[in-house]
Every structure is written in C-alpha cells, then in structure tokens.
Symmetry: D2
Subunit: 340 residues, 4 copies
C-alpha cells in the first residue's frame, strides 16, 4: 500500500501516523522523502489494512493498494491450481471440462430422474437442480425445499451423478448433508453470515458471482469461506448487470482468464443464467471453453415450455446432447492448440 | 399482461394455452382477434403469473406486463401514505423529515452515548449504529455484535432516541428484541430467507436498496416482508452501482418520487453511503429533501479519522449540526412551496 | 503522478527511464528509495503524461495520477467561478438560477413564438429549441435544420430571449452565427473534431454530459474547447446510462457539487432528458436547485401530445409556469439557508 | 407495434387516433376490442413510427414495439449473410476468419512498414493503424493525420495489405480516398452527421460499438449508413462500459451471435481495446472465434513499451504471431465441429 501525504505534514504528525499504522496492523512502514512531498510504503500483510480509514486521515492525500486484499485465494501465494476432487472421483480444475446440468427447479421424481439419466448419457459429470429457489416475487414458485433435496439425492443414487444445489440460509445447512457441492447464488454472494458458516464445513462450495459485483469482491467472498477453513471453492461466472437488455445479464468471459491469473481456484461458466435465452447457450458454451473455463453449468429440462421456473433459458435433453458433444470436441481441440 | 401470439397459431393451441393460463393462475383471458394476429389480455391478479414461463411457450411471440407485480406495496390498492409510528411516538412518512444519525459502527459506550447525545441535540429523531457489519473483507472489523446491540440499547435509555441497526442473518432475530427499527442492508436486499423471517415479526423494517437493484426489485423485496404479514416497511435509497468512480455509488434521487408514485411506503435517503464522501453529505441531503424524501440517514462519528469503518464518509457532530439545521430549514421552505 | 517501480529494477534502467520522462514531458522526477522498492514522483505539468504509456514500461509496477489531467477547467488554478455573460446581459454562474426552456424540436413559427412568449412570461431566461436533431433512427424526424435556426432567430427577435440550440457537425458552424449559446449534445461529447472547432469561436458552449461518460471525461471535453481558446463553457448534467429502466437515464445530481469542486465552470441540469418523463420534471428540478445547480434546462411544448420528438418528457406552458415558480422560490429559500 | 389504450377511451378518440397514425405513417391499424380494454396493432412499416410520440398520447396506456426498428440491416428481410469483398479479393463475412492487425497509431514509415510485413507474415489479412486519434485529453498525441494516411498507403503498396483506419470528421472524407475500409470509432458511433456522409460513399465502413450503446442502437447506426445507400457495413464489438474495473471495458461476446441473428452484417471483435491488457488478447481472441466472430482486430506494435498510444494493450509481432496461429487453428477446429 502506497500512501501519499499532503504537503505541509509535520514531522510529528508523520511519526504519530506511522506508529498508529504499525501498532494497528502487522506492517512495516517505509518512508520516502522527496522534494516537498512524502510517500509511505506499507510492507507486510496489508490485507487487514482499512483503505477507507487510511484515506480519512487529515494528512493523507492519497492511498493506493498495490497488493490484492486476499491471501488464501491468491495465486501469488499458491501458484498451483486448486483441484477439487469429490469422494466419487470427479475432479474440477484439473484441466478437464466438467459439465453440471439439470433443471432450474426440481419438480418431481420422474422429472429429475429422467433429466439426470439423459444428461449423464450426454457426458454431464454433475447433476444440478434447485430445491430452494431465490425468486424476485414472493408469489412465484419457491422450490420443493427439503423434498426437492430428497429427490435430488434419489437421482444421485439412480445415476451416480454427484449433485449441486443452492443453499439460501445458514439455517438450512444440516439439510445439505448428502449434497456433494453446495451452491451460493448470485444474490447471496455477499451474505457474509452464510459464507462464514460455509467456511466451517468440509464440502466444495460453488460461489456464483453477484449481480453487479467486481471480480475482486467475488474473490473476497471466496476468501471469506477459505478464511473459515474450507479451501474447496469453485467460482462461477453467470453474467453481470449492465445497461444492455438484449440478454438477461452480460456474460463477462474476460473474468475467466482474470480469475485464473489472480487466483488458483477453478472457475466455471453458466451461459444459461447469463443470457437467459436457450438459443444462445450453445454459442456461449463454446466461447466459455475457448476462454479457458474449467466447466459449464447448463440448464436442461425435459419440457422447458412447462418448466416451473426459467423455462426460457432451458435446453431439452436432445439440445443439451448436441451442446455437450460440441463443447467436449472444442475442449479437445482447444487443449491441443493451447498446449502445443 | 398482454401476450402477442405468433402468426400461424392454431385454434386448438389457442384453446389449450388459454385453459392452461386460467387453470394455473387466478386470471381471465381476453382474446383480441385481428387481421393475421391474435393478442391475449390477462385480467385479474397477474402478480403470480410467471413472465418467463409465458414467454417460453412455442406459440408466444411476445409478453408485456402492464400491471406491477406487487400488491401490498402498491399505491394503486392503498392510495394513502403508510405512516410508521413507533411506540415512543416518532413517525416516518407523515410529512415530517426524520433524521437517523450515528456512527457506522458502535465502538464503545462512551462513543455511542456521546454521539447519541450530540445528534439528539441537533434534532435527529433516531440513533443509527452498526453492531453487525457487512464487510467485503473477512479480515476487516466485523462489528461488536451482541455487545454492540447492548451499547445501542444503553444509548437509547440515556437519550430516549429509538435505535436503528442492521441485521445480517435470520439466526440473529432474537437478539434484535429491544431494537426499534431493524435495517436490512443493500447486500441482503435479496436475501429472501431473511426477508421472510422479518415478515413474521411486528417491528418496522428499514430496507436498503441493493447495490444494483431496480426500483421494481426493491419494492418486490418490500412485498416479501409484507406478504409475511409485516406492513411496516421503510425504503432507503443509498446509491446504485454505475461506471462512475467519482462517488462510491451513484445516488439515484429520481427513485424518491418514483417510489412514492408506485408505492405508499415511506422512502428515506442515505447520502453518506451513497457518495462515500463526507464533504458531499450536506449538499446531497438538501437535494434529497427537495426530491421529496421522508427522511435522511447520516453517518456521524465523534472522531471520523479514527473510526473503525467508513470514516471517510462520516461527519463530526459539529458538521452534522450544520447539516441538520440546513436540512430542517430547507424542508420547511420546501413544504411551504410545494403545498402552496 | 506516483510511479511504483518493480523490485529488481536496476540503477541503469532507473536512470534511462527518468531521462525518458524528463525528455518527453515538462516534468521533474523525484525519486524515493525505500527498503527493496523505489517510487518516482513526477512534479510539474503532468497533464500531457500518458498514463498508459507509463504503465506499459517493463520496470513499472503501478502508476497513479494524483493531479487532475486538466488545467484550464481546473478550479485549483482558477479559484473563482466562471461567470458567462451574454451581450444581452444574461449571466450564468453568478449565483442566480437561469432557466432554459422550449421545445425539443422547433416545428413552425407559430409554435416557437408562442412557446417563447409563454416561457419568458414564466421567468425563463433563455429559449431552447432543436433545429438539428440527433435521432437514433434515420427514419425519425431530423429537425428543420437551417429553417429551424431561422425560426429560433425570429423568436429571439420577438421576445428578446437569447437562444440555445444544438450543433451536430463542425460543417454547420457558419449557420450558427446568430445563435447565442451553442449546445453540444450527449452523443457528441467526445466528437473531438467538433470540440476543437468550437474552441476557435467566441461564443458560449453548452456541453452536455455523454451517455456514459465520467465526470473527468466530461471536464476533459470542456478542456478541449478551452484549450482552443474558448473559455466560455457551461456544463449540463442530463442523466447517465445505468441498468435502471424506470427512468430513461439516471440523473446524477452528485455531479453538480463534484463539478463545482473540481472546476470553476457553471453547471446546469436537464431533468427532462434525464428522466424522460414529464411528471418527474418538477420534483427533479427542485432537487437540482438544492444540489446547487446554476440553472435548469426544461422541455416545454405547446402541445406535448403532438410534439414531433420527445413529447413524453415535455411540459405544457402551464405546467412549466408552476415548475418555474417553485424552482425560483426554492432557489431563494436555498440561498438564504446556505449563505446564512 | 402493439398499443394498449387506457380504459375509458371514447370511440371518437379512437377514430381520431387511428386516423392520425394512418395519416402520418405507412401503416394499417388493427383494432382488438376486449372486455373493458382496447388494443391496437400496427401492421406495415413501423420503423418510422415514433414510440415516444405514441406513448405521449393521452389515451395510450402502453406501447410495445414487436418489430425491430431497422430494415436494411435486418436479417428478416435479407436472410443471407452480407459478404464484403474488396477489389483486392479479401472477403469479410464469407465464413473465413479475417484478422486486422497493426499499431494503434501510425508513427513513422519504418514502424508501419515493419509492422505491416510482420503481421502479413503471420496471416493478417488487413493492416490497421490510426492516423486520426480520438484522445480523451487535448494534450495527448492526436495522430499524424494526413501524413499518417500517406504512411499507411505506403505500407499498403509495400505489402499489398488493404488498410483500415479511423475517420473523425466528415470534413476529412476526401483524404480517405485511398483507404480500403473506413473505421468509425466508438465515440462517433452516434455522430449521425458523419454516418450520413459515409452512407453516400462506396467503401466498406467498419462501425465500432459505442462505449455504452445497446445492440439495437448499434444496428440503428449501421442502418443510418445503409439508408444513405452504402450497404457495406462491418460491425465491431469492442467492449462496453460497466462498473467492472479489472478490464478497460467489458467484452460482450454474446453480442456476436445476437447480431448475427438480428442482422446479416458481418461482425468482428477487438479484444485489444475491449480489455486494454495485452496479456488478455490471446485468450479473448480464441473466445471470440468460438463465439462465431467473422474476424479479429488486434493491436500490434514493434515496440509496445515506446508506443505513443495504448502501449499497454499492444502485442509485439512475435506475440501476435502466436495469437494468429492459435486463432486460425481454433477457427479450423470450430468450423469442423459446428458444421458437422
């Protein structure tokens, strides 16, 4: 962290300020005296230093953080990719392309088992499905809740596919016992109490990017989980809110290589929620693969026209089969080209 | 809701679709047959109708909602302003200007009591202060938690000012027993499980607008609380996320008259969090008054330079005194001009 | 400008880089040597220093501009407010509230003369009206062009109101001879060739903020005009593009005090274009006054329902009369409160 | 266009309004009478119908455009892809991948000829280079102007590569005689006077998307050029302005398949300007190919560290060689997969 002091700062003020910094934080303060101006450089662990507090000091003209405010999620301190491995053997972040597929909402046993079998046959490595649904309207279908979790576990038994499903409150954590990967949705990305509780369990967490959160804030939310002791975080880009209305959100594929540079965590892409349009899913899945994503999360419904939520963005199992085949084929070609 | 059907829709498809709509939802379907095209109009309670589901139907070309998707918060059905009255007599939404003032974080007894006395002397009608603090970094100060709540309650006893403080998890509701107004922060505006729990209690809820949420989504979150049975919701505009970096957020003052047109709920403005800069608070407080706000929420700290959070946006008690005086004076002039 | 060099920068590289900076730009380079790191501080006129170029150097870890990149528009170098005075005596920026009112498009002699007389009677100090209209669609009405300018000049003769109208190309400058204030629209805010040409003439320029431009970019566009020799620039906030769809744009009233802090130029507000809704104009005009604006630009049409463009945001002359009265009354109260 | 009338509209008002619509525009008005409400449907060419004007009518509750407001650029009326073919044989939009490469600014003969030769050797099909440079600051390097154009023409003679360069004012059109493709930059996307002039010439126009323009507005700007008689428009996605600061702009790759669905015009992608970071160019070039782009525009400089503009985003010729090879290889694989 670089701190530019105002002209006219007295020697006494400088000494007091440096002492305050070194007392409050685990840092050493370097001083550069120049003609008519003084610059401080903080060395050590600046992650806990409060930029706002520093900037609010009378003698401070300007502050600039030069180090990322996260540690555990930071590639600088963990150069190797984090590979999430499930007890059942599936890996995320090992260079393969994982595909999580399934309906937005779990509706009934027949539906979820049918979709699970179909997506498995097409190469999906995880079954996704919503039991607790975050809906803008209190009058919309809110999910089958614990019954939905049971149906997912049933489909898991039927097909062997590990399941990924969203949690909406730390009060529900016990119910997620048999779930393989717990998803934190975009609207809860900064539900810090939930993140803290998820830091205490030993299960991979799929952390979706918030509606309008920066990449740094997203990694900071991963850091919350990791700071609690749970290192198994998977990031998921799902589009950000912009002025453009042609898509539900704007898919930010640049986020994939940026996250991979800043962090060692795996990152996957959800083209279904990002675009909100089923006809865009194929093309954006291919683009995500070529952007270097570790995986895809795709909505598949046996009957999108009758889906209880988000039908407009779901693929049929037949459509998904085509998308998955093309995505795997492109991934193979991509690996050959990039690693050559 | 207006639904434009595709050319070539058969009579049979039309009958089936109308039946599906009338079966699923409490609506009557009007049909307008034109030359080569058919338009359906849904009459009745369309709040529960899922626009995405309608749009995903094969025969549907286009859907447009013409009625707001909220009922209890809708001014159409409740023309009179909601006035929130506390047991201690303070009112919000009755045409007066309420001012909630206090530190971002409660730090210790001396601080909170001192600030409470000072802001009361300047005319503040509520004491605000954070006990649970949502911080982007897990390494930043997270608030004094239950100890902070106790200190707030102490300051309430000392000064008689009712207290407003933020809740971060439904698991903490019991601790908020003695709190007068419970605040839901921007990051939890769509924490629907929390909203549902707050709908079950009998206490005013101050609902801040989310980082990048639309006015409609914001009112829908109020509707969540109201749908649960708690009608006492106060909305708080606190700036939205845009590309502009000169302020922390972009204060959207147009939201004030828009909310007042769409809803009967009171709406206040927080210029401190919106701008992130203490020197902008006075000017934007005056602008908020002239935009028709029912109140202001302003950060005041005895010693902003040593505040444990958000010092850059806090006023000193002396500065606050000036702002409050000007705001009340402008409110008086405004009322004279607008009601003349 | 503060430049943090990378660890491991050699003494030779440092010397070469400092020499390159001092050779290319009119600056002196200060060097601060700290433990294991070196920071450079550029003193002098850094407005011409290319931040991108500096950041692209191999040995540079980080650059931060601490001085604004504008000079002529900068309040630091010109502490006093710029007051624009017209030959006909009207002043902008002298502490009074100027109101520019009139139709979006000039349509015919009767219309423009009628509106001019009405707005003058209500206290407007300038007549605005579009002759060249920037329209998203090539098939929409594009304005009466030179004929429209003639009609405006006629209305000016009739009423004595100075006229403000938009230019869309430097090729048209000659036609604007008899115009009092030339407006640059939001879509041309970064039409740098046009700005350069306007820098060569001696006439006030009303520079609207671009659709999605930062305050800094906006002032830089003023700097373009001023760098050419024309100091008479008036800034006009007209809303920025955000994700919110309840208003056409999001009116950024914080921009008013920020511009006034950074620059000595006057700043006015256009609530008609910002909101796109006539019913919001009154409230946001009052808020603009309380935000400290030097003036308002308001659309008034004799018959908004039949206006050839932007009818939805126009007031009738009667409605304008009410708004103007309230705005002047609030301005008077505001001045009494703020200057007390 | 669907127009919902307000309850209580009289028969007379309806007749007058229909007559006004049919008189002003080349449309037929369909009327659907329902229980208690009336809906109008406009059939015919609604591109010229002014939505704002319709919405401003007293009896209108709601308007919704169901047809795109563009004709010549609309794929509905021109199902086949537009293929731009240069006199020298190069094609854009024929299914091949075109690469336009070169420096942000032309600096001198040696530089431009060297870069031209290098990018040609790597497979680039066009030489790009800036002679007129739109710069935020009037004090930044503004390009070599006509001398720069001459240098580009020289490099064209040397290498046979057609040249692409930006125009900033319609006053300069004559100077662009020997230029193969004229570029309109993001800041001039809605400089309608320039677009009109470019509609009159017979030369391909590369139209960059504006800083914060919607896809519809972008296609409407293409329509301006086409409405003037010039059908040779190439669209170029270059990132949009959002709240995210990790990249200069947010590259919106979904725009590629959306433009291809809505329009028959070719669309290319500029990852250099979109991201502002050279290290992201390779990855986002590959993603653009997989998103279905017809081409790439990439900045290449012999010596990015000494580039007079935008050095931070330029590749060296050696780096470009790697990117081009990978992009062509991925394009080949992609074609095999998508067309199989």
């Amino acid at each position: 962290m670089i701190i530019v002091l105002k002209d006219g700062t007295t020697k006494e003020q400088l000494i007091l300020f440096k002492a305050a910094l070194e007392e409050q934080y685990d840092v050493t303060v370097n001083t550069w005296h120049g003609v008519g101006s003084t610059v401080l450089g903080l060395i050590g662990d600046t992650t806990a230093v409060d930029e706002d507090w520093v900037g609010a000091q009378d003698i401070v003209d300007n502050v600039k953080r030069v180090q990322e405010p996260y540690k555990k999620a930071n590639r600088k301190f963990h150069p190797d990719n984090t590979v999430i491995e499930l007890p059942t053997g599936q890996k995320i972040g090992d260079g393969s392309l994982c595909i999580m597929a399934g309906p937005c909402s779990v509706e009934n046993e027949k539906q979820i088992n049918y979709v699970a079998q179909r997506v498995k046959a097409s190469g999906a490595t995880f079954l996704r499905g919503g039991a607790f649904k975050p809906r803008t309207s209190p009058y919309s279908f809110q999910g089958l809740k614990s019954e939905g979790l049971d149906l997912l576990k049933g489909a898991r038994k039927e097909t062997g596919l590990p399941i990924v499903t969203e949690i909406m409150s730390s009060a529900h954590i016990d119910m997620f016992e048999g779930v393989d990967i717990i998803q934190v949705g975009a609207r809860n990305m900064q539900n810090f109490e939930l993140l803290k509780q998820l830091g205490k369990i030993d299960k991979p967490i799929l952390l979706k990017r918030g509606l309008a959160n920066t990449i740094e804030e997203w990694i900071m939310s991963a850091e919350y989980i990791m700071a609690g002791g749970n290192d198994k975080v998977i990031l998921c880009e799902r589009g950000i809110r912009t002025y453009e209305t042609a898509t539900r959100n704007t898919l930010d594929l640049s986020a994939v290589p940026i996250v991979k540079k800043l962090s060692h965590l795996p990152v996957i892409v959800d083209p279904s929620h990002a675009t909100g349009k089923s006809w865009l899913v194929e093309q954006m899945s291919l683009a995500a693969v070529a952007a270097g994503a570790d995986g895809l999360m795709i909505e598949v419904h046996n009957d999108p026209k009758h889906a209880l939520s988000d039908g407009a963005q779901s693929l049929t199992p037949d459509q998904f089969d085509v998308v998955a085949k093309k995505a795997f084929a492109l991934k193979k070609a991509y690996d050959g080209i990039v690693n050559s």
